[in-house]
Symmetry: C2
Subunit: 348 residues, 2 copies
Amino acid sequence: MPTFSVPDLQALSLQILNAAGVPTADAEIVAKELAEANAVGHDSHGVMRLMQYMQMIDDGFVRLGAKVETVRSGGSFTILDANFNFGQVAANLAVERGVELARNVGTATVMIRNCNHVGRLGSYSKKAAEQGCTTTMAVNAPGPGGVAPFGGIERKLGTNPISMSAPWRNSSLVLDMTTSASAEGKVRVALQKGDQVPEGWIIDVEGNPTTDPQKFYDGGALLPLGGPLGFKGSGMSMMIDVFSGMLSGSGICRTDLPRGANGVWMYFVDVKQFIDRAEYDALMETYVESLKSCRRLPGVEEILLPGEIELRRDAQRRAEGVSIPDETWRQINELADRLGADLSDFND
Amino acid sequence: MPTFSVPDLQALSLQILNAAGVPTADAEIVAKELAEANAVGHDSHGVMRLMQYMQMIDDGFVRLGAKVETVRSGGSFTILDANFNFGQVAANLAVERGVELARNVGTATVMIRNCNHVGRLGSYSKKAAEQGCTTTMAVNAPGPGGVAPFGGIERKLGTNPISMSAPWRNSSLVLDMTTSASAEGKVRVALQKGDQVPEGWIIDVEGNPTTDPQKFYDGGALLPLGGPLGFKGSGMSMMIDVFSGMLSGSGICRTDLPRGANGVWMYFVDVKQFIDRAEYDALMETYVESLKSCRRLPGVEEILLPGEIELRRDAQRRAEGVSIPDETWRQINELADRLGADLSDFND
């Protein structure tokens, strides 16, 4: 497997996106998000997505260079229409607007409608946290998703993820989770590897519990978070449909939108207007110390904070580089050839 | 078991609270919250709490008539200090302030510090929803709670509940859940009845899974929501500690505060400024229809929406009355005698 530095992953993504006709400013944003997903260890959201994104361009799902417009705004909120540009473009703008507005009035809410795949929610909530905001962010799928409501068999809900973040030292705590037992991508990875998925993730088309990932693709469904307490994950997913889908204007139960045309809800709190930052930092240290000192189950080396795994992997991969599977690298080169992008600097 | 109308439960609670010296305006709020908890079927938060609240007054945990003060505010937020008055008094004021501010600037955030037990979160988020707001509300415990972080054995987190609500027809959807597998109250109920608790709720003092509720009180801990995916419930609980505890100023890891001196975070969105209400209502009907039409697991009669059980129980109990266990009724009468409250109207 070839290994690349994070800046190289970003540079080669940029070349491909540029060759595909993505305007440079937008291509730079998307390339950076892809490389950063690899850096923190979420390879499923990294450069392997280039092939999918090209397909979305070819299929007309991504509208290159579409302007992200402000639809409505008020004293403490803004609603953006991404107009089916890359979700990363709209979500980055939303962070910029949200942080600015929160600095003015203490908090901000930014909604995005008609937003394509944004990638990792944690990427955006983290950016805002590093600018001094605690945040909540959630995304819904306006069409039928892959998740059955609690007690149901049929796919009616998206994996409707939620992220929450908070400044911590020079970095941030970042929770980033689906309200389903698992993301669909993890089921796909298991299928491709020939593995079973853990119990409690999926049911088959008849509603029977199964660990065979193929059963999900044969009409099964993901289960909501919580197992026997799945009414909690299910209920949270429904409320995210209301916040992210209805209030953004993206909607729900729609079949007239491109795949991935998500609704996004972001909420920002400017910490220093609520509590002096020095006091906040001191509280955070006391809290982290309390959690880290917790007695642990056998085999558990450390109590981890939200996003701590990603922080460590980011440091490691920026130092050591990121290995890209041979097949992914082959597909990226094939794509580059087709588009006329020159990746010779990255092939040695 | 004697049966009472909801207004009678409220009236007798008011008499007792008045006799205990609670100022009338505050007593009316607390009495209403207690009766309404019984109405929706959450008897654990109903009139049986009167005895506990009297104890809290006697112990100086509740400061009668303390003024709820505004500590800080900005364009889109307010921080209240409940000064250890009843939590219900501060939380009702927070709803009033939040709805008003959201109507002005689109959204509002209200924090409460030094807030005693507020009762059911869903009661407040519901009130705001019925005034046209979607809401998020979370409460943290500033001191050691009853929940172990994922991978841990020791109690380090509160049950840190979260509620989300949204207007629906003339009523509302109301999610109201702990981020732990269960509330502590349910473990206590099992203990008193001599029942076991379901698997996955608690561990004993050594971290072993157990279904014996006594083991919780012998130094065990509640588990976070999610079972093998408990890092999700655990992570959400930690973020609630940041939002509700740190940003409110109530703090975390404190041992210098009275029991139940919680931090509260409330977030309000004025729906009609985000989306025309008629369009919202139409989306909601389509969504509910989609969920209700879901194929179901054997034995499941209906896919339930967040808070739907409470809505139905409320209608039923307001029509048929609420049965109060003999022992609870005996304790209430004993309390009334001690305080010199006249409950003869309710004893026949």
